[in-house]
Amino acid sequence: MTVDQSAPAEVSEQPDEDGPLRGGPVLGAVAGAIPVALGLATLWYARGLGFGRLGDPGPGLWPSIVAVLLVFAGAVIAARARVARDTEAFTRGTAAVVIGAASLAVYTYLFELVGFEIPTVLLLALWLRFLGGESWRVTAVISVLATAGAYALFIIGLGVPLPHLIGG
């Protein structure tokens, strides 16, 4: 039933002329496979939690119900992978996403280790210069100013106990 309801919306959707590259049936199948896998993994995990009775449901019951829903929904998505046109292909630009996410993780790691000032300047510099394509001058000015601004706002102004180097 769910499929029927959604079908018209999809047909009426016009592809953007200038929009991102559409993903193929493989990606469409992946979009279905992930929920299925997640559902199965959850079922496997929840099995050890105990289902209880309807009168007193155990910790495993609700995750299992949701997992079954995910498996079915994922299967439907995978089955329609050929006709679905709502995925986007991964491109060379994906590398920038990986770098962006990794830089945030490194930032968080350094942030705890050496305080927030230096990692913040570095993070902003990376994003401005390399991911944003700004000039070195803009990069330098903004990364330093924004770090100082964040320091003033969060540490001095709002008293958030961020790990930091400068001041008490």
């Binding site: 609700w62 998505i77 962006g100 968080t108 994003w127 700004e134 964040a150």
Partner: protein, 504 residues
């Protein structure tokens, strides 16, 4: 209600000191509302030590101002950057962000501010008139009622998306699953915590919203950095045009009432109200396909509702001594520190505090409206900042904001992981809205259902034996069974009528 004490409450408000603290409170609230992550609860906690040295009435007026002021501010990031800082502004982001992309950011924020003002004010009037009555009604809501309410909410969530329904359902399912991370609410056994006590209390909503919407969106844009975003050249005006006003005035009215009623319910009232208001607008609209693509009613309704709810959430605190949400819990603490225990006796023992605070909200809302209109003009200019500069600044503020929730770097790693998830979902055609809202309502649904089962000794029919829950079950059945069936019958008839002339 004692008219004399209501009026003397106004006298309290207009004492210069109280006026000043009201202005400080709402301004501060609006500013922290703009900062993602740093919510009103944290701000009030940070300011608690300062309030030691202030009289109780101005202190509470200021802290209350931070709370409802933050509601105005939160809308700004939801609309401009698609960064909803609270569960109750998630639905605003759906159409608000689209309006901003279409160059109508000013209109979206303008109507949100006006809707918020009307919703807030209407709610205060109702609060003044019928607070004790409503408070008692809220107590009728037990686990059974919350179960049905959450179920209605989750069904509404699945219909929010624009794309394929099955994908909305899947996204909502993953949100429901994520909500189960943490110690089991009834048994205490760890679920999906992988032995980490960082996850024992579950994942904070703000982290989920910031990750899926904020960080996810930014990562997504990184991929397309070489293809410049269509520049947003116009912003619309903060003061709505006649057309916009006509389109949204009923939405504001409906939203205000929905917000007032649902806001009284402790736990998830404000979120439910924004969701219900959105669903109502979508149903009421002649052309519901505009929703999710920048429908102004989709901003006006939920924004009026969540502000009305923010105001009415004071009712349980001030009349019963029950904090309805995290911010109210901190306010509860603030009152205790002032030596004014919140409870049924508050209105009797400290009428000046009660009416002073309530009446200060009229003024606070007015100040916020006056403050918003010119500030909108400033904030929308954010959209003119190049993406290359705006993205790193947004990401920085998000990361620090997330840290400040629990002062914990682990949460920063979580928000990155959720950001990657949000990016992946977007690539694969899943929307974050249903995910995030299902996350909020999933906790409520599961724990309320299990509590109900214990209270009913395992008898599911218990849901039909309680009057309020029976009515809610009826509403639920009508929405999911009767209405679709009727619609199907009607469309069959229409099809037959359409066919007949051709046969003749």
């Amino acid at each position: 209600m004692d008219v004399g004490s209501v009026l003397s409450g106004f006298a309290v408000v207009f004492e210069p000191q109280n006026l000043l603290y009201c202005v400080i409170g709402v301004t501060l609230g609006m500013l922290v509302g703009v900062l993602p992550g740093l919510g009103p609860a944290a701000t009030i906690a940070i300011l608690l030590p300062i309030t030691y040295n202030i009289e109780p009435t101005p202190a509470v007026i200021m802290l209350a101002g931070i709370f409802y002021g933050a509601q105005y501010g939160g809308t700004i990031t939801s609309v401009l950057l698609r960064l909803p800082g609270e569960a109750s502004t998630v639905v605003t982001a759906l159409d608000g962000y689209q309006m901003a992309r279409q160059g109508k950011a000013g209109s979206a924020l303008g109507i949100a501010a006006i809707g918020s003002f009307i919703g807030g004010t209407a709610s205060i009037i109702l609060l003044t008139l019928i607070a004790p009555l409503v408070a008692d009604a809220a107590l009728e809501f037990g686990p059974a009622e919350y179960t049905v309410l959450a179920l209605i909410g989750i069904l509404l969530v699945a219909t929010l998306g624009n794309g394929a329904l099955i994908k909305s359902v899947t996204a909502a399912g993953v949100g429901l699953l994520l909500a189960t991370v943490g110690l089991d609410p009834l048994m205490g056994s760890p679920r999906f915590t992988f032995g980490s006590d960082q996850l024992a209390d579950g994942i904070d909503f703000v982290i989920v919203a910031m990750g899926l919407f904020g960080v996810g969106e930014i990562l997504y844009n990184l991929e397309h950095r070489l293809r410049p975003q269509p520049a947003v050249l116009s912003f619309g005006r903060a003061i709505p045009r006649r057309m916009e006003w006509l389109a949204s005035r009923m939405a504001i009215l409906r939203g205000s009432v929905i917000g007032f009623v649902l806001g009284v319910l402790p736990g998830g009232g404000a979120t439910m109200s924004s969701l219900v208001a959105y669903a109502v607008e979508k149903r009421a609209a002649k052309d519901s396909s505009r929703f999710g693509k920048g429908a102004i009613e989709g901003v006006a309704g939920p924004e009026s509702a969540n502000n009305a709810a923010a105001t009415s959430s004071f009712i349980p605190l001030l009349t019963l001594g029950i904090p309805a949400n995290a911010t109210m819990a901190v306010l509860f603490g603030a009152l205790l520190l002032q030596g004014i225990p919140p409870g049924p006796q508050l209105i009797v023992d400290h009428p000046d505090v009660f009416w002073g605070v309530v009446n200060s909200m009229y003024l606070g809302n007015l100040i916020l409206l006056l403050l918003s209109i010119p500030l909108i003009g400033v904030f929308v200019r954010l959209l003119r900042v190049r993406a290359g500069i705006l993205a790193p600044l947004t990401v920085l503020v998000t990361m620090i904001g997330v840290y400040s929730i629990r002062n914990n770097a682990f949460d920063m790693f979580l928000v990155i992981a959720l950001g990657i998830l949000g990016y992946g979902m977007k690539k694969l055609g899943f929307e974050p809205g249903p995910f995030v809202l299902a996350f909020v309502l999933g906790k409520l649904l599961e724990s309320s259902f299990r509590r109900s089962m214990r209270l009913f000794d395992g008898d599911v029919l218990g849901f039909f034996r309680r009057p309020v829950s029976a009515v809610l079950v009826a509403v639920l059945l009508i929405t999911i069974v009767v209405v679709p069936v009727l619609r199907m019958v009607r469309s069959r008839q229409a099809a037959r009528i359409a066919r007949e002339p051709s046969q003749v």
